[in-house]
Amino acid sequence: MTAIATTEGVIAPTPARRKARGSDRGRRPLLVVLQVLIVAVLLTAWEVGSSAGWISSFLFSSPSGIASVLSNAAASGALWTDIGTTAYETVLGFAIGAIGGSVLGLALWYSRFVADLSAPFVAAIGSIPVLSIAPIMIIWFGTGVTSKIVIVAFSCIIVALTNSYRGAQRADRDLLNLMRSFGASKSQAFLKVVVPGAMPWVVNGLKLNVGFAIIGAIVGEYISSQAGIGHMIVIGSGSFQMNVVLAGVVVVMAMVIVFSLIVGLLERTILHWER
């Protein structure tokens, strides 16, 4: 009896997972130190090589050259305008494409007929490279931010749609039957089983789309723009200023990291029960 009560009283017996997480946590400071060290060594080698003339600073720039471009652009305010423009296009396009695509994908669960009907069209649209469609968007929506927002939305929508639809299709049949046995309507089954059950897929789509969104915005700015990090890179490469080009690349990397962290936070909030 006591043994049974003890078995019953155990909560969250997941020692294997905890142990693995524990050892990961122990290793983390070491990993961070090593990662910082690798970056520091590479930057130092690059800087020394460039100063000593072993590496062409015209072709490869130098960390100090990039830092100088960034600090001057930050001081003049141009950097913040460019970052603001690209961030605005990315966030708005992401919201429309990724969130809109996810909602559409989930909604397709309602009608297998509509889902099957639209499948080849979704596949066809998904196969269009954003680079080939971007010039058309610029012609249709102008050289301002609107065309970039549309390009970003286009870059994200199919991945979001297909991911969330797959998630919805994988809704647990036994859970759906349980809902039916309670007399649930189709909407209740959708909201209480399909949507929460598909959330890991939806979040996965959002994570994938962070990269696609930034690529969409930069590609749009490459083709025609008045501001943005893509614009900064194009101007730099047109005038052979490698410092400016690489400064743009550094900013893009930083933006991807920041957006990924935000989506990571979103993931932890939405999938709080998976922790």
């Binding site: 078995t7 019953e8 909560i11 039957n177 046995s181 309670f182 007399g183 929460p196």
Partner: protein, 264 residues
């Protein structure tokens, strides 16, 4: 006489009308208020199909299901609740929110649903886990929460499909004892589907033995262990237990499959 649950002339085929796909053949049985009725049989006797037909999740090819004399064939009804081997707790909901799921679907206001569920937590030995997630519970606690989710909606009939199969033996015995107590207190009708003869004999008032290919009732056995104790160990040790066990064992073992009957 009106029975709480009555199944009349149920046959079910999957696919075409070819008799090879006949899963259930001409099943007739009933269960009354407060009765514990079990179905035992070998693999392929159509227990799960029968379960889905009784719950209304599946419409049979022929026959009808009546609850309190009203036909419910192919129509899920609130009078029937069910518990499966899989606890089917939603991992994204807390235990409390899982337990009130049925009430939520029935449109019971949240405060009232929570209050009704809270009263059951002590009875099912789950106090203190209301706000935990299913992944934080042990297997036994999860099964209790699943049973609570069904019981809180106050169905007249509870269907259980090998609900305790995945649990270790001592825990299974404990949960079965609790189930017996709850059933006796609440006066509900329980229809229990199992492979386990011991489970069927210790829990049931009546046992139906099924044969496979197609599923057919070969025998109805009234169980009287000579004790009213809800404790499974005591029931297991009752003198008539072994006779019933052996009888059912032989009944299952000797139930001929349809092709053997034809050959004979």
């Amino acid at each position: 006489m009106t029975h709480t649950l009555e199944v009349r002339d149920i046959s079910h085929r999957y696919g075409t009308d070819d008799s090879a796909n006949l899963v259930l053949s001409n099943l007739n049985f009933h269960a009354d208020a407060g009765e514990f009725v079990s179905f035992v049989g070998p693999s392929g006797c159509g227990k799960s199909t029968l379960f889905n037909i009784i719950t209304g999740l599946l419409a049979p090819s022929e026959g009808s299901v009546l609850v309190d004399g009203v036909e419910t064939t192919g129509q899920p009804t609130r009078k029937i609740g069910y518990v499966l081997q899989k606890d089917l707790l939603m991992p994204w909901r807390t235990v409390m929110r899982n337990v009130v799921l049925g009430l939520e679907v029935h449109g019971v206001p949240k405060a009232e649903a929570t209050e009704r569920a809270r009263a059951l937590f002590a009875e099912y030995h789950l106090e203190g886990v209301e706000n935990k997630f299913p992944a934080q519970l042990s297997g036994g606690m999860r099964q209790r929460a699943a049973l609570m989710r069904t019981m809180v909606t106050e169905p007249e009939i509870v269907l259980m499909d090998e609900a305790y199969k995945a649990l270790d033996y001592p825990l299974k015995i404990q949960l079965e004892s609790e189930l017996m107590e709850n059933v006796k207190k609440s006066g509900k009708t329980v229809v229990f589907v199992t492979h386990d003869i011991e489970e069927a004999v210790t829990l049931s008032d009546r046992v139906y033995v099924l044969k496979a290919h197609p599923g057919e009732i070969v025998e109805e056995i009234r169980i009287d262990l000579g004790t009213d104790s809800p404790r499974i160990n005591e029931r297991r040790l009752a003198t008539p237990f072994n006779d019933y066990y052996e009888h059912i064992w032989r009944s299952i073992g000797t139930a001929p499959a349809r092709n053997e009957e034809k050959a004979a």
